[in-house]
């Protein structure tokens, strides 16, 4: 048996059409699924949407400029350092200690204390704090 007769006899038309449709439908479905795959993946990757109200940080208060000529403030700053030293000390030791604690304007501050008489010179570069 040959020709169209053979094809019809073996149900060829239906088999070929069905086969072609199945392949097309299957691969089209797969194409659709993989076209959505990245959206699905993104869905899992996305962090949870939680709304948290965060108060805006208050602007930092403007730092007061240090005034080394302000005697009261300078005494207040240097008194703890002087207490660490002996009752009579050389200015170099006070200077080193002030540097250690990163105090500002060390030279000016020490001069203010000396000029105000809060650091009393004992001679030979030795000083004593007077209240």
């Amino acid at each position: 048996m040959y020709g169209f007769e053979a094809i019809s006899h073996h149900n060829g038309w239906v088999a070929a059409a069905t086969g072609a449709c199945i392949v097309f439908a299957g691969l089209s479905t797969l194409a659709f699924l993989i076209s959505q795959l990245h959206k699905l993946v993104n869905l899992f990757d996305r962090p949870p949407k939680v709304t948290v109200t965060v108060a805006p940080p208050e602007p930092p208060a403007a730092a007061q400029p240090e005034d080394p000529l302000d005697l009261e403030r300078t005494v207040e700053r240097y008194l703890p350092l002087i207490e660490e030293l002996d009752a009579e000390f050389v200015l170099a030791d006070l200077y080193a200690l002030a540097q250690k604690y990163h105090l500002p304007h060390i030279h000016l501050s020490i001069r203010t204390l000396v000029e105000a008489g809060r650091l009393e010179p004992l001679g030979d570069g030795v000083f004593r704090f007077t209240a």
Partner: protein
Amino acid sequence: MDLFLQFLGNTGFGLVDWRNLVMIVVGSFFVYLAIAKKYEPLLLLPIGFGIILGNIPFFKGFGIGIYEANSVLHYLYFGVTSGLYPSIVFLGLGAMTDFSFLLANPKLMLLGAAAQMGIFCTYLGALALGFTPQEASSIGIIGGADGPTSIFLTAKLAPHLIGPVAIAAYSYMALIPIIQPPIMRLLVTKREMRIRMPEMRQVSRRELVIFPVVGLILCTFMAPASIPLLGPFFFGNIMKESGVVDRLANTARNAIIDTATIYLGLTVGASTQGDVFLNPKSVGIFLLGAVAFSIATASGLLVAKFMNLFLKQKINPLLGAAGVSAVPGSAREVHMMGQHADPTNFLLMHAMACNSSGVIGSAVCAGILWSFLMG
């Protein structure tokens, strides 16, 4: 003298048949093509040498030939007749395939489906020429341009045709540079050949890992008979993409597929014994194979043109020719044709997407045909 003449009569010189000589010439030609022209050497060299091997005349009944029980070649051939080698080849193929191009542009999968139309058209043609439905399916699957799939389906439906079908399938795969370009030039205009494909998006690793699972479930639910091919294929692919079993993936895509290819090629070649192979059916199979391959190419091109009627971002119709699963030969041919029209147009990666879709498509077709005709 009698003893000498008797000895001569038992040698290859005494037993030779003209059909063996013809096949030895064919085998030598394949070896020549593989070595001198570098036409698909990984396939044509083992097959060509196998053809020579299988056509050495021998004294029948001593368990020497591939069709004789208990012969070594017969045991090796079991991997073909049982469908074992094609499954192993698919495992390695999966471990080699990069689906990122397909995932980046899923509509190219339709071209892989379109190119399978050659299978069903040739199925009808073979029925019309008087082949049985089983034989017609085995011949039609040549249009998928997938050697292992053709061998697998033929082993299941028409084992007596394995030799001619396998040789036809692999020959046409090797002859892609000769078969496809004229069809492309005929159906695609110069202007269409210059269409540029859009830049591909980056595909995440997670998508690549999920795809083999989704692909396996969908395809095998649709055509369960394709499990022996698509199961190993997607397993190989998930080994590659998961990145947790690199050692296994490397073995699958190197040692395992190479071993299977060697024995597949050699035994398929050896199965073409002149007295079995050279008959009118084989000639018919070769002719129909060429038809199948050409229709597959043409249908891929035409569907790509048809899709362009509806797409805003046009696709290059040449990609349709890569819908056949001849990896990577047809993709390379599409790329070269595109470059011929516009040297700055790069289609290779897009064509590989169609190619990988074609592999899935032809395996699904094999499953469908097998399930139609099994039993």
